[in-house]
Symmetry: D2
Subunit: 318 residues, 4 copies
């Protein structure tokens, strides 16, 4: 989720180029050490290959910055078809689920494409920076950061289905142990509050318009649920008690055979992570649980999840 940044107009050319290059370099950093095969695979329909993320985020800049000019010739004819998000394959094979089948262009081709786009974007910023261009660049940068999050969740899943359990990074920083303080509930905001992004500064479409919302009296936990607490829920039979789950959640539990968080081992002692298989830290926040699992946990604990508005009101003010 983006935070609200200072107005675009205050960017100088050089600071915008620096920001652009820093974010673009971060995407490349994420695939450092990975092989062409790792970036090719799509391990489930909801995931995308890392190669696709690298190409799609570049296509975004090409399309909306360079492509905005009347006389623009695409760098690679046909790539728009492959790498925009709305690509619809002809025939019975659903395009989104088939991204992993596109072996060409190769990862090397995509690296070259990124470099060609970067050169042209930097050139465009140097020569043509105005408020509109700055806005589009900022949008593309934010968009690429969203995909960086997806790259991490997608490679985690891809490696998790390999019996070898490859390690993405030997040294992954431990999860925050914010979840080790004693659990307490603090009053949330109540009454009429403003929700949504302020007018100035970057925000995604879904964060507008700013509007009022009525919050009822409630309290929110002072920290995330930790692994130890969630493990108690699992051990207490939480995954086999229909009364704890929303109807659609319970259908999913049964259809997919859920018995514990996806990356946890059968004995609830280890988890598969970007750092490989490691012991579960009891005091770290539980993660990689679905909405349905979080909701069932809350019901088991005699609570409920906060609404989006309750959470936003607290998060923004904190």
């Amino acid at each position: 989720m983006p935070t609200h940044r200072p107005a675009i107009a205050s960017h100088t050319t050089s600071s915008l180029i620096a920001r652009y290059q820093r974010v673009r370099a971060q995407s490349m950093h994420l695939v450092a050490g990975l092989q062409a095969e790792d970036c090719q695979v799509q391990s489930m329909p909801d995931a995308s290959p890392l190669k696709w993320h690298l190409a799609h985020t570049s296509w975004f800049f090409e399309e909306f910055v360079l492509g905005a000019r009347a006389d623009y010739t695409p760098l690679q004819p046909g790539w728009s078809f492959l790498f925009n998000s709305y690509y619809q394959a002809v025939g019975p094979m659903h395009a989104r689920a088939s991204r992993g089948l596109l072996t060409r262009p190769t990862l090397a081709d995509v690296f070259a494409y990124r470099a060609a786009v970067d050169e042209r974007i930097v050139h465009a910023i140097e020569r043509e920076l105005d408020e509109q261009l700055a806005d589009v660049i900022e949008l593309g940068v934010q968009h690429e950061q969203q995909h960086q999050e997806l790259m991490l969740t997608d490679i985690l899943h891809a490696f998790s289905v390999n019996p070898w359990e490859p390690v993405f990074r030997a040294r992954v920083q431990s999860l925050s142990r914010a979840a080790e303080v004693p659990l307490a509930f603090v009053p949330g905001y109540e009454g009429i509050v403003e929700i949504g992004a302020p007018e100035d500064g970057f925000a995604f479409d879904s964060e507008h318009p700013r509007h009022l919302s009525l919050l009822h009296p409630h309290a929110i936990a002072n920290r995330p649920v930790n692994n130890q607490e969630f493990r108690e829920f699992v051990r207490a039979g939480g995954y086999s008690d229909a009364s704890l789950w929303l109807s659609e959640g319970w259908s999913t539990v049964q259809r997919e055979g859920w018995q514990r968080p996806m990356y946890w081992s059968d004995d609830l002692e280890t988890a598969f992570t970007l750092g490989g298989r490691i012991p579960i830290d009891p005091l770290a926040p539980v993660c990689h649980v679905s909405f349905f699992e979080a909701d069932a946990y809350a019901r088991w604990a005699g609570k409920r999840l906060p609404t989006e508005m309750e959470w936003e009101a607290l998060a923004v003010q904190s």
Copy 2:
């Protein structure tokens, strides 16, 4: 399908090594020019990644030649699990359909594995050649040749699902035009014939034991059905006439929406091949049609397919 070769015992050490190396080199030749991504992809559950074929055929030699020794230590612990054909994944994901998810070991890892296996196999032949070893080597060589056929059909399918329609080999030798002679029917063998491989020489299990079969009077076409003839079947509505299809075939036609041979274009003018998209040669044999399609064509033409025995009797004697 293997032909019947001279008895293994007549191989000298050097000729067996030469044969082994020739076949092994052919597998590597097939992936020359392909990228790591191309060898990673599994474009449908019935296909396997080329990388898997390269590893599996090597595993076969390691397991049945080197692994036969009591004190043998596998080259790569765990590879047997991944690359034997009977690998069964734990959990809901079916192993065979998931071969394309294994990004590690990489293609480069597999190349290194092949080299290590080759070195040891050649060494074994040089030092330990006896009839039993010769038999196993021959079996492995035949097995690898079977997989070479699969590698070609699998990469054809993988490239066919890419909107770019990549070209595997710019110059693929044209299909035989054997199908251009006038169609005629020649009498097949009738009466009691011997079917199956002779006792001596290599044969797969499924070709034994040699046994007698009774053939009824019949005639077999003097050449394969050609593309022009099959196109007439398509144009005559063959794919929408239930009466021409076996029941299971018709279910498949409807479920999968078949309307023409898989690699043919909608207008029946071009086909996707290992040489890319090319005009359909009307006089070349039709290919890449399923048993159900061949059977429906034969019924439409007022004929039937030959039985396996009718065909074998004719093929062996010719």
Copy 3:
């Protein structure tokens, strides 16, 4: 949806019996003229056989009125298993979808069961009426009225899948022509409003607790959308324009091949109704459209659906 009725305490014994019998008789009236076969069929998993509705609503009274006594012996051992809503079949066959497979008890058995329950319930009201019993009776009556609505939608669907298109009632009262007045938008309530049922009088669980809700400025149409308007949406390509649909709605459109409201003919001229196939009345309210269809229509018309709170605020005050 139940309306809020006067407090239960004001019922006299005779008026409660009259009310009970009137509602029970209405269920029987709904199946008058139907055959045993019609009451047996379950035409889709989301529907239930009419026989099941008749038994289930009776089971409700047996269980919660008669079954509340410590020494109660069920009228029919095992029926509770079949006719409560939570029946879970052992094994792979999902119970809810299998209600149509239960040929025994027969419709005649269920009629006899209803009569036996009615006799005992009337007897109980006569002898034991207190506020608690009155509450349970009222709940059961309301529950049965809900099922009467379902019986009508379920028999409509069951008859619609029969090529003969049977007629449920030769004379069905025309749909209100409330939708013929000119369309206008009237301001809805805004600000903080009370939502939910008042404390006194009957209400279902989901209508409690009464709480405050903040309504933003909005306007609501003065009448339902009519068939003529919806037909324009269909003709304008509404069912093939992904941009008009919620994501889950669009998936449903494609998966199920929706092209028009379920009971409309291909030419958009007639609809299948409880009175058989009849010409579509252009000025009657459109009905039997899903939430997704209503939502897509609203988007196409440049509007949105009212929220539940906006609608309730207007409906209750009107």
Copy 4:
């Protein structure tokens, strides 16, 4: 399976009428004691409602005897559409699987239809009997007998999915105890044998033409496998050993969760039958097992199933 009967030409009018009426009455006898609901239900896509069987077999006589006349007017317009076997519904709902949704015509309607057909068929035999008519009547009678077999298997399945386990006939004759003699293997025919129906007498299409077949040396058990023997196979883990099953059989075992014969209880002590749930007779022939189960049993026992030709040669000669 039909046996080979004396030539049609030898029937007199009265004996043909008697035969027709006897078989037609047998179909009605099969539904005696059943309710309209029992005859309505289709408990799986591969089954048909008994009502459908009763109507379809009558439609057969109407269509092929009465309908052969140029000026014939069908008894019930539209029934041909519903009750011929090739009825294809328009739209997504597959007709065969939807036979259970047709509540109209009712069972009473079908009874009346049968009576009307019978009257006309008897009239036709009385007035117009020639060899061609006799052949069609015989075909219809044989066809109805095939459906009588299906009626029994279909009602068995329908009752088996009802937790009440209704009893079709309180007194069902016990299965033959032919399977209690000691198991022995007797030589089958070998060499060239004639297979198929003789030219004269009734036979179905699939029993022609008579032709020669070559049988290899083999032996066939002197009696069917009995329940005791099959139970040993189940207890020995036969349903969880992939090596005993054909590939398609093993897929079915896993997909459908087979663990024992369909109608056997978990403890392998009782079976659901047309006479209700009864103890399994250890010496009676095992029944209601699929081809895949029979094949797996044979492999477990170190045998194989006989081929169709081996079986026919022995059965016809015995």
